[in-house]
Symmetry: C2
Subunit: 224 residues, 2 copies
């Protein structure tokens, strides 16, 4: 998949990047970076699957993103201090292109077009993040977790949509901000409602429309 860099960095700065980049590989369950770690930079995923999460005040984990090839990693620590307790864990073996912070800064400050698209990228991330603030009943949030999982790692096969790497109930709970018991019950309900099906780990989506509707219920008009 075409990465951000491929698309927007100018030819000359790509050459610069080629000199300064590093290629790294991580195995399943390894941590690419975590909480307050020094020496950060940016990562572009070349292959594999990653989950990005951080520690909540009560000590539990919160999963905020799933990422796969072509996507950027590590940009969330930008702007603040690097103490932000965020971490990236490998779900399936990954190869990444590592860009040291200094190198990235140099490029962004020099290549205005790249810089512009980076800004737009962050703006879009902000918009998405903001959209998460709305609070919905948990069944909707769990549906959203399944949908996010499908969007990140899903594919279509014959009649139904499968998820290549189905997350654990605990991960869903961590995405939806609820407990895994609640996730179990919500999934059971969705199965009963013929929206999804599962047998063992892998989840099939039987009715994507219904799932989307549940994940993002339509706006009601304001009272009064």
């Amino acid at each position: 998949m075409l990465s951000f860099i491929d698309k927007y960095l100018s030819k000359e700065w790509k050459e610069y990047l080629n000199i300064h980049k590093e290629l790294k590989a991580y195995k399943k369950n390894e941590i690419i970076f975590h909480a307050g770690e020094e020496g950060h930079g940016l990562y572009v995923i070349l292959s594999g699957k990653v989950k990005v999460s951080y520690l909540q005040f009560n000590g539990s984990e919160r999963l905020i993103r799933l990422a796969t090839s072509g996507e950027l990693l590590g940009h969330r620590a930008f702007g603040g201090n690097w103490e932000y307790p965020i971490s990236a864990l490998v779900l399936e073996d990954v190869e990444v292109l590592y860009i040291p912070l200094k190198v990235f800064e140099t490029m962004v400050k020099a290549d205005a077009n790249f810089s512009f698209h980076m800004m737009m990228f962050f703006a879009e991330e902000l918009r998405k993040s903001e959209a998460k603030i709305k609070h919905y009943p948990v069944k909707n949030l769990v549906a959203r977790a399944v949908l996010d999982n499908y969007r990140a790692f899903g594919f279509v096969e014959e009649s139904d949509s499968k998820i290549d790497h189905t997350l654990s109930r605990r991960d869903y709970a961590s995405m939806a901000g609820t407990t895994y018991e609640t996730v179990v019950r919500s999934l059971a309900q969705m199965k009963k409602d013929q929206i999804i099906d599962f047998e063992g780990k892998s989840i099939h989506i039987l009715d994507l429309d219904k799932l989307q509707n549940l994940a993002h219920p339509p706006y009601k008009k304001a009272k009064k």
Copy 2:
């Protein structure tokens, strides 16, 4: 207060901006922009006070930000479609500098340094937004609403910290994502605990340390 533009836009592009900018003024309770409105651009607040909110799926309002002089407005609609149901309402008469989208884009694409700082600005906004996702008990969220209100519109006078423009209980509820009854109860508790005091509308902060602690409780270590 020094705005973003003042700080980071280069001299030559400031001249360009001076030609294309518009100065606008809005009275209390007027709406600067809202939900899906066409012809957006960016606003820099020169004076006054604004609240930024959007409509939630259940029709209720969610307050996401308070802004005052020097701050940027309207950047949240970036990246997505402009249908994002966000609006800005005037709390106290404002003057703004309006920058049409085209003008802004031209500047950002041309001035790499400005672009870089815009990117960093969005990155910081993303970080802040993400930090809101954690869910805390409501009493903490209400404390945070008060603290945000103080940070946006507060000042120190003699011994205690006052809030120049105290929001309504409904606005606090809208910030904390709870009901106003719960806000009333939480505020009453904080008063009893000598953290804040109020008599009529204006809130005084008696113990800023305690308030901050309540708003951002320290991390606990993970179980197991």
